[in-house]
Symmetry: C2
Subunit: 230 residues, 2 copies
């Protein structure tokens, strides 16, 4: 049985080596800053997780997930996202409230409970933030998507998910009135200070990279083909 803490390490590793594309392994410092602990702590834990065959790791080397570790990490994420969906759909919590609660609920280990909840929610494919929910076997469809920062001037796209799940970010998105499935048009991109002017729901708004880097979008073309110049 994995501890609360071990599960958080595995979840973090999935975030950094599976969802963050281009990297299948991660350094001690990176993981430490992600988890907000000191590198020494990660060093120790990496050794322990290796003993339990959850990660691949050699002294002074990078850390990556083993097949078992990946599966366990995915289960934590499955539980997190199913609880988020429950809180949002059934208990009417808002977008920005559900993440924190799910951080606690995700550590309740019961396959049966999660499968019943899944069924109760009618087998959702995505959580309220637009992220895919891994299945019982830890499989997940990682859909192709771009950040709003990548979209060229003049092009239209559709918001499909958020990257940053923090309360502050979600409150901001909520405040400006943007929702998943909304259409966004990039009106102007200012190279000098990286500010972007966007239009959605007939409103025009100037936003910073802190916003555009954390909004996932798809355009009509990239919905069908992965290569697209939107």
């Amino acid at each position: 049985m994995l501890s609360f803490t071990e599960e958080n390490y595995l979840k973090a590793l999935v975030q950094l080596t599976v969802f963050e594309d281009g990297k299948s392994e991660v350094g001690v410092n990176r993981l430490a800053s992600y988890l907000e602990v000191k590198p020494a702590t990660v060093s120790d834990m990496a050794r322990k997780l290796k003993v339990k065959a959850l990660v691949n790791y050699e002294k002074y080397g990078k850390i990556s997930l083993s097949e078992l570790g990946r599966k366990e990490g995915m289960m934590v994420i499955r539980r997190h996202r199913l609880w988020e969906t429950f809180l949002y759909q059934k208990l009417d919590f808002t977008w920005d409230e559900i993440h924190e609660l799910a951080e606690e609920l995700e550590h309740i280990h019961s396959k049966k409970l999660m499968n019943r909840l899944d069924q109760f929610l009618d087998f959702p494919d995505f959580d309220p933030h637009g992220d895919a929910i891994p299945n019982e076997d830890g499989d997940i469809i990682i859909p192709f998507r771009r950040t709003l920062s990548e979209v060229k001037e003049g092009k239209k796209c559709k918001m499909v998910a958020v990257k940053d799940n923090s309360t502050e970010f979600l409150k901001y998105v909520d405040k400006i009135g943007l929702k998943i499935e909304d259409e966004i048009q990039v009106i102007k991109k200012e190279d000098f200070d990286s500010l972007t002017t966007i239009q959605f729901n007939t409103k025009e708004l100037v936003v910073s990279p802190k916003f555009t880097d954390n909004i996932f979008v798809l355009c009509a073309i990239c919905l069908k083909a992965k290569e697209c110049d939107c």
Copy 2:
């Protein structure tokens, strides 16, 4: 913020000094055996809980809950019983499965979550085992009830709750087909070996004190007046 363990001590103290009638304080050994830890551990913890003003306790003395401790303990029980109700009513778990899961879920601290869940469940007064659910302020109606062992030969009564929530006990109750609200008649009480013959749903069955001590009942008279010779 209370730890998982501290909450379990407070919950146990509520069970032993509020629900178990006649005692408002408890000894170190009793609490230790209830929690399945060593007396030394309870001694230590009693000192810590006293510092936090959660219990009244002096070296070599009995332990009792402070007003604050009682409230915190009641909150754990409120969460436990609301989750049990959810699991039973909404996720179709069986009587004997819900207790264990609720033991984990009860430690999620969020007043808002519990109030939303309460509302979602339509403000239930009792959990699936027949126990009252404390309100948001920690208040609870402790109904008058007898155990089946107290009922005299020939008398009829109604099952209202179980005392023992263990999986084994609940599985047995389920197996014999007895449910809350069922009418039970005490046919015969054998003094020699304390076996009781009961009748319910047209079935007749011989049961031991292990059963009768753990079934709570009310008769038609004690439903109205607390004094009754059922």
